[in-house]
Amino acid sequence: MKGATVASRYGGVFVLAVIVAVLPWFLPNSFYFDVVINSGIAAIVCVGLNLLIGYAGQISLGHAGFFALGAYSSAILTDNLGWPPIVSLGSGLLVVALLAFAIARPILRLKGHYLAMATLGMGIIISIVLNQEVDLTGGPDGMPVSSFSLLGQEVDSELGWYWIVGGSLIITVWLALNLIDSAVGRALRAVHGSEVAAQVAGVDTTRYKILIFVVSAVLAAYAGSLFAHYTGFLTPSEGSFFRSIEFVTMVVLGGMASVFGSVIGAAILTALPQFLTVFHDYEHVMFGLVMMLTMIFMPKGLLPSLRNWINKRTS
Amino acid sequence: MLLEIKGLSSSYGRIQALRDININVAQGEIVALVGANGAGKSTLLKIISGVQPVTDGSVYFDGIDITRASSHRRVRLGIAQVPEGRQMFSPMSVEDNLMLGAYTRKRQEIKSSLERCYTMFPQLRERKRQTAGTLSGGEQQMLAIGRALMAVPRLLLLDEPSMGLAPLIAQQILKTASSLKDANVTIFLVEQNAHAALSLSDRGYVLESGEVVMSDSGQNLLNNEQIKSAYLGS
């Protein structure tokens, strides 16, 4: 069974890498590239968020706040202070990590709906600040972000971004899978399964909850930073309550405690609105309906439900 | 037979709690079900009340098959339970707890039932405005019995009425229970306190690990050495 976990870990990453490597030849134009790149960015957030929600069992309805903070700090440092983008990105991650660390302890003492409320409030506070600090962020009208450059090489082609985001996603997934299959990851999952039993096994549950909260916040911020440079323009809607809900929905839709589920969830929910445009006025009605029906009939999410179904069929 | 349980099995979660149980209770009897903790006694009462699903077998009440009947329908048919641990509506007043006991009955009948209940348990009348959570253990047990009687049941299920009570209070509660027989209520009693339970019962069943291992008159069981073994492991 050692072989099994390792195989699923590297096998999955391999399949993902192959898909990422081959996909560009099937993308006819920049629109498809855009959808795929946005899916990838969302997937990075969702993999991190799934570590928090799906694996450690701590809900967050405010992760778009971290996404937006990463995006804006990168943008502000690059454009207002003239820092090199890569340095801005690093500093942005540090800022978000510190902030997440500072609020993690009081927030993660809460449970269930109270935790949901607190993280939601946190996200809303961040989004209001982004809206109000017009001089810094451009307020609701947004701010332009200069393009990303690495070692003097500017990334401005869609394909360039595709490789950056694709590579980041593969590494994120790989790291996440590594983490899950380590003592740290087992401790996290144990926190979800039974906090008291985890403590009895010697797990300092508070420490691990804080750790994973910070990790997921940093991943969200990283994705946000990529997004900022990729689109070249930021508005505070990136940090809104809706975006937070969207991320959580992606995680739950793909499947809790399923890293690849998060990738699939992110891809589906990014692409779905594009499909639903055929319903014109009924686009949102259909979107709400799809959300409800999927969760009613597949409460465990797409990938786990699919896996159960295949298992049932084969056995 | 008022209550007939035929070949009943039940599991909840991963535990097979009951296996092939056959129990009969006739109109007007007091029947005790004794056995050690975890033997499945409470599960059986929950099944009779319809709050726990049956895996196999059937339950008849007064000749009607109630195996799949909803819990509220069973109360209307005349089955009331005094659950283990009292299960008060703790933040609500004593009187409200009693009133809810009569939830299935006509409004105009409640008044007299309430009066009867207060006559039986004068302490409850004194404390009728207090919240149930503030009562002592014994008073809570009285309230639990009173609440079940408010439904004017034909069959009363008593689950561990003496649990956690000081011996004197426990005896008082059990005496009260036996006096209900005079009020034409059939009683099915589950007790850890085997002596007390069997001494006031007409008949008894001994449950061990989810199976009925013995059934006899209360007196015979009381004198049976096997009972002692089931409890004290000797």
């Binding site: 809206n131 609701p140 009208d141 323009f233 594009q274 499909f275 179904w309 | -």
Partner: protein
């Protein structure tokens, strides 16, 4: 089995959707693309814009199209999400291969897509207000609405006429509100106006009494409100209830009948700059905007049964500037169409008379605004 059936339906639906959005681009038509915030917090603006575009594209086709070609409108709803706006613009350009884009309800969405527009080189007429969109001018980008700076300038002129010097400001949290407030603060000094107090309210607020109480206590001569939608009515009502001295000014964000209906009697006395559209019937007969305004009002109310707002008017102007340019250019060649738009001259729209140039990609002058006052629950044309 529920689950299987569900998955099948989902896949079938997706396939259907895919086919329908790949399988266009055949007939020889002129394609106009649009992305609007039809839903979301700015639906108040985006919804009439969408209705106007759909209404007039149908009319144009009934009348034979442009240069004999039918017009096809591809319209996406962004829900006021800049990210969606960028994706939709990429889709319009690379997938739907439209010839021109008319859209962008708000400044944020418009600004977000400019990079894409410039890169692809496609004529684009924005429906958003802020001057930053066309200042400095960008090769492919045009816009129709008056800027909020113009509206503020118009209000300040009127204030000076009325002898007002000390004012209070109240604005919402949205892009329009913030930009308007910023302009009001920037332009105040030059206009000889001092801003004693500036207050804001939040998304979804139902009562602005606390903010207005502070304005009242600041002892101002007049108050300028920067915002639109429901809050226009709430602020106006609260203002009247608190009995604040001095007139209340709004900007063109309140140029819709919905504002008066919402505010009721409290709206009386509010002064605001609007496009001529709202008072088309009161304009002198020789005013060139009179007929076009009256026609638009009739067409819109006949079709949708609801009152016109000037926001739909922005879409009307943008659409017809595009149509005129396409007609004149006689081709869908993007560079030629762009040049034709830049050459727009004396185009009479509901927003005013447009004269575009290389340095002016909006083409409206301050006199295209009309100063109105609400009187007896109706617009009154002042000057």
């Amino acid at each position: 089995m529920n689950f299987v059936r569900y998955i099948c339906t989902l896949i079938a639906g997706a396939a259907l959707a895919l086919c329908s959005f790949i399988g266009i681009a055949v007939a020889d038509t002129i394609k106009i693309g649009s992305f609007l915030a039809v839903t979301g917090p700015a639906s108040f603006l985006g919804d009439p814009e969408k209705k106007t575009l759909e209404l007039y594209v149908d009319k144009i086709n009934e009348q034979g199209g442009i240069n004999g070609k039918q017009v096809e409108l591809t319209l996406y709803d962004t829900g006021l999400d800049a990210k969606e706006a960028v994706t939709f613009v990429k889709r319009l350009i690379s997938e739907d291969q439209v010839d021109i884009i008319v859209g962008g309800t708000t400044t944020g969405e418009t600004m977000a897509v400019l990079k894409e527009i410039e890169k692809a080189g496609i004529p684009f007429i924005s429906l958003a207000g802020a001057s930053v969109i066309i200042d400095p001018p960008k090769k492919w980008v045009f816009k129709t609405p008056h800027t909020d700076a113009m509206a503020v300038g118009m209000v300040y002129n009127d204030m000076k006429k009325e002898g007002i010097s000390k004012i209070g400001l109240i604005a919402g949290a949205g892009g329009f509100d913030k930009s308007c407030m910023k302009n009001a603060q920037a332009l105040a000094e030059g206009a000889g106006i001092s801003i004693a107090i500036a207050e804001t309210y939040g998304k979804g607020d139902n009562d602005m009494t606390p903010q207005l109480t502070k304005i009242k206590n600041a002892g101002v001569d007049a108050t300028l409100f920067c915002g639109f939608g429901g809050p226009s009515s709430i602020v106006t009502k609260n203002y009247a209830q608190l009995g604040i001295e001095g007139p209340l000014y709004h900007t063109h964000g309140s140029c819709s009948k919905g504002f008066i209906k919402g505010a009721g009697d409290a709206a009386n006395g509010v002064r605001l700059p609007c496009a001529a559209l709202l008072v088309a019937d009161q304009l002198p007969d020789d005013d060139p905007q009179k007929t076009i305004g009256m026609d638009y009002i009739k067409a819109y109310t006949d079709k949708y049964g609801s009152d016109v707002s000037t926001f739909g008017g922005h879409a009307y102007d943008a659409l017809f500037i595009a149509v005129e340019a396409l007609t004149k250019a006689g081709t869908t060649d993007k560079a030629k169409v762009r040049d034709a738009i830049e050459a727009t001259e004396n185009f009479i729209g509901v927003d005013g008379i447009f004269n575009m140039s290389e340095s002016d990609h909006m083409g409206l002058s301050l006199d295209s605004f009309k100063m109105l006052e609400v009187e007896n629950g109706n617009w009154k044309y002042l000057y």
